[in-house]
């Protein structure tokens, strides 16, 4: 029983991290109907930023995650401006293929510059700290990440739902031409959405090196899991992505502990198939 609770806790905390990675992809997908294949590579680059800031300037991940967020904001906006812009309105696959090329470029650029070695940041503020809660052991870095995820997702959700900018985003997502006729600068909305989507994943990647090793391949699996979460949650639905991410985290932890670590992703991808076969547009999709 204790073990089960511990596994569930680990799964939930991990799921929150997945949710933070997925929410950026979710708003981009929801507004522009574009799958950004380089999403996982954004995570990887933000992790490297935190790692190098920590290694060279002794900055803690909790501080350098803002640098990661800022940098990936720029990178996201540039991705839109230089690549995605030219694929909008073309066959839906072109954006995916172009960002696949981008992912390949970024991954191998990091491989080339930073070698494929695993790098771990030591002596961070949160480090390997844990505390006991009854019989449960709660890892502090994961807990802080989960709370951060909740905060960021809440902010994004609030922004989209209640601010004037958010309404403009919703209008653009619903009908681009009509939004333009109402005086909304959809081009600016697209750039900002790509930037904000990048910033959230930059924050996620920025905080991760506290407890995860950095290497050029680290982003690929995060990217895939983000696709799964967003699709499972339903087209552009933030609560859907959050719920799906929690489900993915828990299923992953359960399968990893009770079946075999190698089968945890089999369980996760199997879960996706099961969900979309029952609800072909995802949990909250229509």
């Amino acid at each position: 029983m204790d073990t089960l609770l511990q596994v569930l806790l680990d799964g939930t905390l991990n799921g929150m991290l997945y949710a933070l990675v997925a929410v950026g992809l979710c708003i981009i997908w929801g507004v522009m109907d574009v799958i950004n294949f380089a999403h996982g590579e954004y995570v990887m680059i933000a992790m490297y930023i935190t790692y190098w800031l920590g290694f060279l300037a002794n900055a803690d991940p909790l501080l350098s995650m803002f640098a990661g967020g800022f940098f990936i904001f720029i990178l996201g906006a540039l991705t839109y401006r230089l690549i995605i812009k030219y694929t909008v309105g073309k066959p839906p696959l072109s954006a995916l293929l172009a960002t696949f090329g981008l992912a390949m470029l970024l991954k191998n650029l990091c491989l080339n510059r930073f070698t494929p070695n695993y790098r771990i940041l030591s002596d961070t503020w949160l480090g390997d700290k844990t505390f006991q809660l009854g019989t449960l052991i709660v890892p502090v870095p994961q807990l802080v990440t989960a709370l951060l995820a909740l905060l960021v997702i809440g902010l994004i959700f609030y922004m989209i739902r209640t601010t004037r900018f958010g309404w403009a985003v919703q209008a653009t997502a619903m009908d681009k031409e009509a939004a333009e006729l109402m005086g909304i600068n959809t081009e600016k909305i697209y750039i900002l959405i790509f930037g904000i989507g990048g910033a959230t994943v930059g924050i996620a990647g920025g905080v991760m090196p506290t407890y995860l090793a950095v290497h050029p391949e680290v982003g690929t699996m995060f990217g895939l899991i983000a696709f799964i979460c967003v699709a499972m949650g339903g087209f552009g639905s933030i609560p859907g992505a959050l719920m799906a991410a929690l489900l993915v985290g828990i299923v992953e932890a359960l399968a990893g502990y009770y079946i075999a670590p190698v089968f945890k992703y089999v369980a996760v991808f199997g879960l996706y198939l099961a969900v979309v076969l029952l609800r072909p547009k995802g949990i909250f999709g229509w």
Partner: protein, 340 residues
């Protein structure tokens, strides 16, 4: 105008057929084994892309799961040789049948999904197969299968001294798959398939059984992808899950076809003829520097090609033909793309 366009089109096909007719003579002219390697890969990738084109191009179902079928074919041949010490041929047949069966089993539920949901479902299937094959002892697990050295020749589908044997095999593979797709294109089945792509409900209202058509196309596409996989493993003499059942492999099917022009007969060949030399020459030129310089450049070129011409290389070719036809001075854009 129409008349000249028709003549030009005929000339284009004549030139293409002439070029293809010259292909069997290539080994007599060159003994450069790197050039042979590039040509073999072009033929193989063109075949793979054409197999994908059946369901992905003509059928309009963007499958990212073809690495699974390719892998099943590769493992079919690999296990026949390595595990059972036979000739690869029975493995090739079994692999093709198994791939077709697996394709039908996974596609039947997945065809309910649309757009990105279908694409991500096929990603998920590749990852599941990858993990299962990694730990499956019977198929060699993560270590994969390493070929023993056996007598060379067509019986064992293996050659050591020169690549000529492989070259003719790849040429046969290419011709076979292109021939099949050419037949489908003008056959009733091809019209059904394109009708389903254009509008499933409309096609159904006219009496087309869209599920059967899509499943048939998927099974055929998977079987041909498996055949390519078998050739790939015979050429590499080794197979492991990461090599054949990975997203990167799936992306190659899609990239070559889409960049060449999906749903056209010439598209896969054009895509392969541009992408494979790009991949192989960047690898040969910069791959040795250590750490992915070739893939940085390849990734960059993919972005450029997609951004510049989403209609595929067929589109670039068409545009070039138009420019050459009207004013030869304005060839700058087309020529730089052709060189890229």
């Amino acid at each position: 105008m129409n008349q000249t366009a028709q003549t030009r089109k005929n000339l284009f096909w004549l030139a293409l057929v002439g070029l293809l007719a010259l292909l069997p003579a290539v080994p007599a002219v060159t003994a450069n084994s790197f050039l042979m390697h590039v040509l073999i890969l072009i033929l193989l990738y063109a075949g793979m892309a054409q197999a994908w084109n059946i369901i992905g191009g003509y059928g309009g179902q963007t499958s990212f799961g073809h690495a699974v079928f390719f892998g099943i074919g590769a493992y079919g041949a690999g296990m026949a040789v390595v595990t059972y010490g036979l000739s690869p041929w029975p493995g090739v047949i079994i692999g093709m049948l198994a791939a077709a069966v697996v394709a039908v089993l996974i596609s039947y539920p997945c065809f309910k999904l649309s757009g990105h949901y279908f694409a991500i479902a096929t990603f998920a299937i590749v990852e599941i197969f990858n993990r299962v094959f990694l730990v499956w002892y019977w198929v060699g697990g993560a270590l994969g299968l390493d070929y023993p050295i056996v007598e060379e020749g067509l019986k064992n589908l293996m050659w050591y001294d020169t690549k000529t044997g492989y070259y003719y095999c790849a040429l046969f593979l290419f011709a076979l798959i292109f021939g099949i797709v050419r037949l489908i294109e003008s056959h009733r089945f091809g019209y059904y398939l394109r009708a389903v792509r254009a509008g499933q409900e409309t096609a159904e209202s006219l009496g087309v059984n869209s599920t059967a058509v899509k499943l048939g196309a998927m099974a055929l596409s998977a079987a041909l992808a498996a055949l390519c996989g078998a050739f790939f493993v015979q050429y590499n003499l080794r197979v492991d899950p990461g090599m054949v059942m990975s997203l990167d492999m799936s992306m190659k099917f899609v990239l070559v076809t889409i960049l060449g022009g999906a749903g056209t007969l010439a598209g896969p060949l054009l895509g392969a003829a541009v992408l494979v030399p790009l991949q192989e020459y960047t690898r040969a030129l910069w791959g040795g520097l250590g750490g992915g310089v070739d893939l940085i450049i390849f990734g960059f070129l993919i972005i450029v090609i997609v951004v510049k011409q989403p209609a595929g290389i067929t589109g670039i070719a068409r545009e070039m033909a138009r420019r050459f036809g009207r004013k030869p001075s304005a060839e700058k854009g087309g020529a730089s793309l052709g060189a890229a």
